[in-house]
């Protein structure tokens, strides 16, 4: 069964304090790994898709990386507006292209 585990559940950072969020996954052949950002009371907002081990993608202060067993979302010099819940999801090669989500990491960046 496809599974996604995110850690930590919650992370509190000072503004400018860089850190990483982890997404460990097991999947029967990876079609893609997705990162989303979710603000309170809103729907998930797409950030990145990674397809193969070694791939990296960047957007502003965020960089996502992928290995065969996990993905990291690196946050460099975060700002308070980066506070949100970050969700990771995987899509398997076989079967219909459903997403299997982790439970997310709640990030709070204090000024």
């Amino acid at each position: 069964e496809d599974q996604v585990t995110q850690s930590p559940e919650a992370l509190r950072l000072q503004e400018g304090e860089s850190s990483s969020l982890n997404c460990s996954y097991t999947v029967s052949g990876l079609r893609g790994l997705f990162w989303y950002r979710q603000d309170p009371g809103k729907g998930p907002e797409f950030l990145f898709t990674l397809y193969s081990a070694g791939e990296e993608k960047e957007k502003e202060r965020l960089k996502a990386t992928l290995t065969k067993k996990e993905s990291f979302l690196h946050i460099t010099a975060p700002k308070p507006e980066d506070s949100a819940t970050y969700l990771c999801a995987v899509q398997a090669l076989t079967g219909f292209q459903k997403l299997v989500f982790g439970t997310g990491t709640r990030l709070l960046v204090s000024p």
Partner: protein, 113 residues
């Protein structure tokens, strides 16, 4: 942002009442999905559609039905609402072309008393 709206945005209902949630998209995306989000469980797939009148079950489909009579609309019906169906419901769409990215609507918060 795939031009997705959900209605209603908030609803309070009583146990045993039928409830219908609507998802409307303006991007002509082929695939549409209904998820529920609960603390400790993350987003879980209820039903999905791969075309007009083509739907299938997800992992938590018991007690739910769906219909898609037009490309732009995907309806989720709780046939007889129960307290366990209190949740936040999200609709998502995917173009079905080269990208597999799913784009999410703003959600409907449902409380079943």
């Amino acid at each position: 942002d795939a031009g997705i709206t959900q209605s209603p945005r908030h609803k309070v209902t009583e146990t045993g009442t039928p409830v219908t949630l609507r998802c409307h998209q303006t991007e002509n995306h082929r695939y549409m999905y209904w998820y529920r989000q609960d603390p400790g469980h993350g987003l879980r797939l209820i039903h999905y559609s791969y075309g007009v009148k083509d739907t299938d079950k997800g992992e938590v489909s018991d007690g739910y039905s769906v219909s898609r009579s037009k490309t732009e609309d995907f309806l989720l019906t709780l046939e007889s609402a129960t307290s366990s169906q209190t949740s936040v419901y999200f609709c998502a769409t995917e173009s079905g072309t080269s990208t597999e990215t799913q784009y999410f609507g703003p959600g409907t918060r449902l409380l079943v008393l």
